[in-house]
Amino acid sequence: MAQMTMIQAITDALRCELRDDENVLVFGEDVGVNGGVFRATEGLQKEFGVDRVFDTPLAESGIGGLAVGLSLTGYRSVPEIQFFGFVYEVMDSISGQLARYRYRTGNTFNMPVTIRSPFGGGVHTPEMHSDSLEGLMAQQPGLKVVIPSTPYDAKGLLISSIRDNDPVIFLEHLKLYRSVKEEVPEESYTIPLGKADVKREGKDLSIFAYGLMVHESLKAAQELEKEGYSVEVVDLRTVQPLDIETIIASVEKTNRAIVVQEAQKQAGIAANVVAEITERAILSLEAPVLRVAAPDTIYPFPQAENIWLPNYKDILETAKKVLTF
């Protein structure tokens, strides 16, 4: 096993799938010679050739359309949207087209497409580079939305996404690309989509989170441990569909829960998790399920970013409210 960052694990997953399935294609803006603006596709064009790993003209809707058309001719596309804030340019290709093909053709055509894209705040980007738009994607029936929080998960989840016969939106948090390093097997392996992972076991409170917020939640759990609270941290990993079984089992064990997301509070994934918990486990609850989320503004300018983004202190504060309710 090798120590890998998340970006290395992602490149490794792409390499495994390009090697193991000749129908896998990787394309997007600057993914070829340049290896992607974050180097997620570093060396892949050199290894697999320009026919398999290629640059496209700069137009996101065109990239989405390309993925649709390539699926129809039997390819398994892994396009990159350079930053997920650019997704609005490709919304029709994703929500209007990719997500609907299996349905509208009565299960005769399908779209094995994994759209990879960096997202997430805290790295002082220009506008439209940091937005958390997974809630928008999760509302579209026909898609799956996957967000890894560790290098190990990233590799296994990406391989599963590529092998999935339905379209997957695979979101990679910018701040996690190089900040976490861990042992990642060099061989190919999969982690099932739609399965959450208990990153830390506990008895007094469940924290549900995904992406960067998993790490902030783990930090908060450590602090709470010092005060005598045993806190469970569940990494959703797939935010659509949710792993209801794991979520409910955790709530039934701890009887208290909070949900953490980096995205704005309105609508979104956390609201959905709260709704599922109240519908399915209200009698297990000792306290209201509270959310930690960003305020309902447009993603802030970089100078206000650090105070706007939720962090472990916000999680601590909300966790205590629920623990002492």
């Binding site: 649709v68 699926s71 005769t108």
Partner: protein, 370 residues
């Protein structure tokens, strides 16, 4: 600036020189006379008769579809009369394995490519079985989002190129569609990848009610292909021979590895935009209608074929009778198709149902079994 520099710097002249190159390509004029002898395609008598039969058949299909719609027996329908040459003569240049990415008015082409007529009726009625294309028939269900099929056609064409087969992807939109971002992205992507795609713009003069001149300052839509670096042609879309030749030429070049083409066919839809409440008298005069009726593709092709001794009233009657019978049989078959259920729709969302759809499936299974 000196005189020499001024000559080099004359953007208006550059534009004019490009636009003036787009003369409308025609072989048969309105009177059915050959005006371009050298360009006559190498079609056999049987092929000419077949193309005429398809156009006549489609005119009847259109009339019957409109009347079925008015009886409440069809559903969504976009009339095709006036566009038979643009639709069927372009399709006539294709081969069986070519892919068609149609707009919602382009049902005749996909029927002639292998979608059973009863399924086309089910598409109109809003039944998913209508979009279940038989195995090996390379057509997509009609696209509703204007222009989305253009970027997808670039993708199919790139896939064909990578597979190395001698096929093409053809896609259709209208004059309105040529204003969409996806139109430009599609032709540009296909051009950049030198992919075997044929982009057809059936310029029927109105995007619902909006006239062609409101869409763009460009003198022709064909010239838009120049910006993407792809061969482009303006064709008389009421002339089946010209449409066939332009499409065949585009296909031959595509298969030879020379990349995509853009074809603008000048045509007219006689009927409303769709049968869902559009009233063309709000935006078109009877003068314009009459002007275009005089250019009718079936009338001129009939004159041409009668002149060659290949067509007569009896032949036409035979086609009309066959069309009526087949339409009747197709409607009957459509009627016999079991009603769709919400459980069918739930099952068609993913390869495997996630928990939410599994739960909802059970709810609807109980509801629908009552």
């Amino acid at each position: 600036m000196g005189e020499k520099n001024l000559k080099q710097f004359d953007p208006a002249a550059t534009l004019a020189s490009i636009e003036n190159n787009f003369e409308m390509f025609q072989i048969l004029n309105e009177e059915g006379k050959v005006v371009n002898e050298e360009a006559i395609p190498n079609l056999s008598d049987e092929e000419l008769i077949e193309l005429m039969s398809r156009m006549v058949y489609t005119r009847i299909l259109d009339q019957r579809s409109i009347s079925l719609n008015r009886q409440g027996r069809l559903g969504f329908y976009a009339p095709t009369a006036g566009q038979e040459a643009s639709q069927l003569a372009s399709h006539f240049a294709l081969e069986k394995n070519d892919w068609i990415l149609p707009g919602y008015r382009d049902v005749p082409q996909i029927v002639y490519h292998g979608l059973p007529l009863w399924k086309a009726f089910l598409f109109s009625r809003g039944h998913f079985v209508g979009n279940q294309v038989p195995e090996g028939v390379n057509v997509l269900p009609p696209q509703i989002i204007i222009g989305a099929q253009f970027v997808q056609a670039a993708g199919v064409a790139l896939g064909i190129k990578k597979r190395g087969t001698a096929d093409v992807a053809i896609t259709y939109t209208g004059d309105g569609g040529s204003s969409q971002g996806d139109f430009y992205e599609g032709i540009n992507f296909a051009g950049a990848f030198k992919a075997p795609a044929i982009f057809i713009v059936q310029n029927n003069q109105f995007a619902i009610s909006t006239p062609r001149e409101v869409q763009t300052a460009a003198k022709t839509i064909a010239q838009k292909g120049i910006a993407a670096g792809i061969p482009s042609v303006l064709v008389d879309g009421m002339d089946p021979l010209a449409v066939y030749v332009a499409t065949k030429d585009a296909r031959d070049r595509a298969v030879r590895g020379e990349g995509p083409s853009l074809i603008e066919t000048m045509c007219y839809r006689y009927g409303p935009h769709t049968m869902s409440g559009d009233d063309p008298t709000r935006y078109r005069t009877s003068d314009i209608d009459n002007e275009w009726a005089a250019k009718d593709p079936i009338v001129r092709f009939r004159i041409y074929l009668e002149g060659k001794g290949l067509w007569n009233e009896q032949k036409e009657t035979e086609v009309i009778e066959r069309a009526k019978e087949e339409i009747k049989a197709a409607i009957k078959k459509a009627d016999e198709t079991p009603k769709q259920k919400v459980t069918d729709l739930i099952s068609n969302m993913y390869e495997e149902k996630p928990f939410n759809l599994q739960e909802q499936y059970e709810v609807f299974e109980a509801k629908e079994s009552k």
